[in-house]
Amino acid sequence: MPDTNHFPAESEVSRRGFLELTFGWLAGIFAVCASAVGTVRFLVPNVLFEPSLLFKAGKATDYPDGSVTFMEEERVFLVRQGNTFRCLSAICTHLGCTVDRADHGYHCPCHGSVFDDQGNVKSGPAPRPLEWFLVTLSKDSRLLVDKNQRVNPDKYLVL
């Protein structure tokens, strides 16, 4: 009579069965997750064909003292006061419209948000102040704006 003691009972899982189940499921889950991650990652662009976030804004002498210059392509205002330079985003923090220069500050034509000269919200639905970007000087003495770097409104480039 054959000895059946070392065979597992029907409800038990054999070592081989356990390993097959574990690795089978792990492989399956991994395949699904990897495909999902790959698909989403595929859809995230690596190169943007839009105006660069880092751009040169010309020479300091291009901007007269006390001027606020709107730059269409980059949708920013370049602000010069005396020998200080700052750069303010022209994109409304409410729903992304382009703000206009008003007498004392800025004004969003879409939903009526009003900002003061420092970009702070004076009235309207905008939840946050307009953003200020870092202005530095490039090696060839041009103003260099970096829209990736947000700064406080009291940060100036002094020339």
Binding site: V40, L43, V44, P45, L48, F49, E50, L53, E72, R75, H94, L95, G96, C97, T98, D100, P109, C110, H111, G112, P125, P127
Partner: protein, 428 residues
């Protein structure tokens, strides 16, 4: 009785070798053939051979789901035709629109029909949802079909929204700018979702091609599949909802409990409520011609309505998209204007909390509200609480949308539509 000449020709054609090869059953002459005609035809077999009289009553369903389906079909046909002229490029798209308007024969009407059918589909899907709610039709065993319906409603909105950008005019550009910025208010994933949708930071070529791909293949394919499942479930859940009658049973055969040592016919395995179970045969009529005829008639009416709108009203086309000069006011598509109105008070509540809670509430509704009283009747007394809550939400949504659409002028300030808004000069 003498058959009319057209019918004679048809009957002759049916008897020819070719006719017999195409139509398995000819024009039905008997009840047997009426049933056979429904069952043996690919297009008709989606429907039952016999339907309950209650389901045919126009004052019960108003055909709203069917109208939505027909609008979807019209949108596919007109949309595919528009694709023959449209190039999803920021350089060309707007010119293609002008070509459709002024150069292509019937191009204007085709685009108008597509636009109006899209707006109508949003409206009719919403009305269909209201009908299902007010008649309690989402209750057991139709809970999941309601969930599918909520998904189809969201898909309808997405389809319309993605199509909005394609003309690449000022209306399109700023509606999508505003719309995607509303989405960006969602916590954590909002900005990433916006970046993914636009394929960048601003609405540009990448956004256009993405919206195009979603609009012409991804979303229609998903919607088409879900509509198929939605219709399948209507059949499998026992046809249109109707009041419970004595003798009605919801059969829930648990497959695991059947003996497994025999084979079963399909009718033994079918689960759920079928139109025939426990029913008085006098309530049933043959789908041919009662249902088929009504459906054809409704289809003609819907096509006529869209054609009428397309011929007499032109879809808007504003100036070429200009990222520097937003129109004043800049508005999202009308079905999002209720949200935009809320966002103008509080971005977080209007952009995140309210839409999120509403969608969640709609999804869990059939699983929370489980009492089967009052199913299959309009505004039943037993459902007064549920109906009141739903109506209040609906009225608020309609009021907010109306305010956003009609009562908001330049600077999003209050403006009665009957007072002519001051002319806004373009540029500075």
């Amino acid at each position: 009785m003498k058959a009319p000449p057209l019918k004679k020709i048809w009957q002759w054609f049916e008897r020819t070798r070719v006719g017999r090869s195409i139509f398995r059953v000819g024009l039905p002459q008997s009840n047997l053939e009426r049933a056979q005609a429904m069952v043996s035809s690919f297009l008709l077999h989606i429907q039952p051979a016999k339907v309950n009289r209650h389901s045919l009553r126009a004052s019960y369903s108003f055909g709203l789901g069917l109208i939505s389906l027909y609008l979807f079909l019209i949108l596919i046909v007109t949309g595919v035709l528009l694709m023959f002229y449209y190039v999803p490029s920021t350089e060309q798209a707007y010119n293609n629109m002008k070509d459709l308007q002024f150069v292509v024969s019937v191009g204007l009407v085709m685009r108008n029909m597509h636009r109006w059918a899209a707006h109508l589909m949003v409206i009719f899907v919403l009305l269909h949802m209201c009908r299902v709610f007010y008649t309690g039709a989402y209750k057991r065993p139709r809970e999941f079909n309601w969930v599918l319906g909520v998904g189809l409603f969201l898909l309808t909105l997405s389809l319309s929204f993605t199509g909005y950008l394609l003309p690449w005019d000022q209306l399109a550009f700023w509606a999508i700018t505003v719309g995607t910025n509303i989405a960006a208010y969602a916590p954590y994933i909002g900005p990433k979702l916006k970046y993914l949708m636009l394929g960048g930071n601003v609405v540009g070529q990448e956004a256009l091609i993405r919206f195009y791909a979603l609009h012409v293949i991804v979303l229609p394919a998903v919607a088409g599949f879900m509509i198929a499942v939605h219709l399948w479930r209507v059949r499998k859940d026992g046809g249109l909802s109707r009041p419970d009658e004595p003798g009605d049973t919801i059969q829930q055969i648990e497959l695991g409990k059947l003996p497994t040592n025999k084979t079963y016919g399909l009718m033994e395995l079918a689960r759920g409520m079928t139109p025939q179970v426990g029913r008085n045969p006098a309530d049933e009529v043959f789908a041919w011609p009662h249902l088929v005829f009504r459906e054809l008639l409704l289809f003609l009416l819907v096509v006529a309505m869209v054609l009428f709108l397309g011929i007499f009203w032109n879809a808007p086309l504003e100036q070429l998209a200009n990222p520097v000069h937003p129109p004043n006011p800049a508005k999202a598509p009308w079905y999002f204007l209720g949200l935009q109105e809320l966002v103008s008070y509080s971005a977080f509540w209007g952009g995140v909390v309210v839409p999120g809670v509403l969608v969640m509430a709609l999804l869990v509704l059939p699983y929370m509200d489980r009492d089967r009283k009052g199913v299959g009747r309009w505004f039943p007394r037993e459902r007064v609480v549920a109906n009141t809550i739903f109506t209040v939400c609906l009225v608020i949504a309609i009021v907010l949308t109306t305010i956003g659409s009609l009562f908001r002028g330049p600077n999003w300030s209050w403006q009665e539509p009957w007072k002519r808004p001051p002319t806004v000069t373009e540029g500075r």
